[in-house]
Structures are given as structure tokens and as C-alpha cells.
């Protein structure tokens, strides 16, 4: 697939990313209600129903754009914002699981959520650094 066609495809992925971002934030905000209402039975319906599907739809999309074979033809700087958007959406979805399971903690989610945020930040910085290193190589 040529770069121009990939660019057009990326536009579509970009729109999906915005949808995913808003979906995950909405789920996180709704799940926040679990904090205020102790006797919520939502775990079964949400964690078993919506959450895994959302997580499965959002996280692999980010990795696909990052590591996908034919996406390598498109430079990272062009797709980094879309990738980061998917990972942020993934993080919000993960956060909503933390809210959903807050009354019956399976593991200490705060560590995982915080770890995810730190990982995201490092990944993004690494991507930007790599870009600037590539520039240096062009004009050594």
C-alpha cells in the first residue's frame, strides 16, 4: 500500500480514535458513580459486558498502528498522535475497570493505572526523541 493511501486510511483511524476516546471517558465517568453508590450491582453487567469489549477494541488498534507491517511505510511522527490517542483511550477504559471493581478489588488497580499512565508518557517521549535522533542522522 502506498503512503498516500495509508494517509487516507489513517484519517479514518483518527476518527475511530476520537470515538474511542470519548467512549472510554464516558465509561469512566459513568463508572465513577460506583464510588458514590456502594451497593451497585453494575460489576456483572459492566465488567462482564462492556468493559472487555471496549478494551479489546481499543488497545489492539493502538498496537496495530504502532507495529502493523504495512503501517511501517508511514513515518511514526505522522501516526504518533493517533497511536497515543488510542493508548490514552485504552488507559481510560482501564481506569473505568478500576472504578467498576472498586468495591471488590481484584488487585490493587491504582498501581496498574498509575503505571499505565507513566508508561504512556515514557512511550510518547521516546517516540519524540527517536524522531529528533533521526533528524540528527540526516545532517550529522
Amino acid at each position: 500500500m502506498d503512503t498516500e493511501q495509508l494517509g487516507k486510511e489513517l484519517q479514518i483511524w483518527n476518527r475511530f480514535m476520537y470515538m474511542a476516546l470519548a467512549s472510554s471517558i464516558t465509561l469512566a465517568v459513568i463508572s465513577l458513580g460506583n464510588f458514590f453508590y456502594d451497593g451497585w450491582f453494575g460489576f456483572e453487567g459492566y465488567a462482564g459486558g462492556i468493559w472487555p469489549w471496549m478494551q479489546l477494541a481499543i488497545s489492539p488498534a493502538g498496537f496495530y498502528l504502532l507495529w502493523g507491517k504495512h503501517w511501517r511505510a508511514l513515518p511514526i511522527p505522522d501516526r504518533k498522535n493517533t497511536i497515543l490517542g488510542f493508548f490514552i483511550a485504552s488507559w481510560f477504559t482501564f481506569l473505568s475497570l478500576g472504578f467498576i471493581t472498586v468495591n471488590e478489588p481484584l488487585v490493587n488497580f491504582s498501581f496498574l493505572v498509575l503505571g499505565g499512565a507513566i508508561l504512556l508518557a515514557f512511550g510518547y517521549i521516546n517516540m519524540i526523541k527517536r524522531k529528533s535522533n533521526q533528524r540528527d542522522e540526516m545532517f550529522p
Binding site: 470515538m19 470519548a22 467512549s23 464516558t26
Partner: protein, 139 residues
């Protein structure tokens, strides 16, 4: 405001439209997830989130349609975005029906279907108007 910056703004509104669609679909998904527990369903804050999403879908449609400075952009360029917003607003009504379940009154169903008809008719009418198509047999 000049037309170039308005075009750029319209592009941003298009992205916000997709965000609204995502939020709306999540509300539908939560409505479906709640279906087995209709009898005692209570989700604190759900209606608040719903109101925000509904307002964020409904109002921009009217702003883009009737906003003073938006008139500078030809209607046919912003029509799809406008009706995208109205369609998302219509989709956002659905989770309320899902939460009411079998107890949903007939008036709600008529309102829901009526909105769909109004949106479809208005879109067709405004599209013809924006493209300058008239029903003149002998112009």
C-alpha cells in the same frame, strides 16, 4: 471571522461529532448492559452524563445551522456535519428508552420515531435547498 478560520473550526466540529458519537454509543451499551436488571437499576450520575452528551449533540447542530458567522460557509458544506449532530442527538434518546424498557410509554416511542422522520425530511429539504434544486417543472 474569516472563512478560512471558519473552515478550520468546522473541521474541529467534525472531530467533536465523532467524539459525541462514541459517547452516545457507550450510553447505548450501558443501557443494554442494564437490561437484565431493569427492575432495580440505579446508576448514580448516568442521567447527568446523558444530559451532557445530549446537549453536546443537540446544541452544536443548531449553532452550525443558524449561527451568525457560520452563515458565511455555504450550507451544503456544513449540512452533513449539522445533521450528523442531530442524528447523534437522536441516537442519544435511545438509551433512555432502553432504561425505561417495557415501561416506555407510547408517547416516547412516537416522539422517538417522529424525531427520525423530522430529521430525515429536514435533511432532504435543506439539501435540495442548499444545492439549488427546486421543484419547478417549467423553470
Amino acid at each position: 471571522m474569516d472563512i478560512n478560520s471558519l473552515q478550520k473550526r468546522l473541521e474541529i466540529w467534525r472531530y467533536i461529532l465523532f467524539m459525541n458519537l462514541g459517547a452516545s454509543l457507550t450510553l447505548i451499551a450501558t443501557g443494554i448492559a442494564e437490561l437484565p436488571n431493569l427492575s432495580n437499576s440505579y446508576l448514580p450520575g448516568w442521567y447527568g452524563v446523558w444530559s451532557v452528551v445530549q446537549l453536546a449533540s443537540f446544541l452544536p447542530g443548531f449553532v452550525l445551522l443558524w449561527g451568525k458567522h457560520w452563515m458565511q460557509i455555504p450550507l451544503h458544506e456544513r449540512l452533513n456535519t449539522i445533521f450528523g449532530y442531530f442524528t447523534v442527538a437522536w441516537i442519544t434518546i435511545l438509551p433512555i428508552g432502553l432504561r425505561m424498557g417495557p415501561n416506555a410509554p407510547d408517547s416516547f416511542n412516537y416522539f422517538f420515531l417522529g424525531c427520525a422522520v423530522v430529521i430525515a425530511v429536514a435533511y432532504r429539504w435543506l439539501r435540495r435547498r442548499s444545492l439549488g434544486i427546486h421543484n419547478e417543472i417549467f423553470p
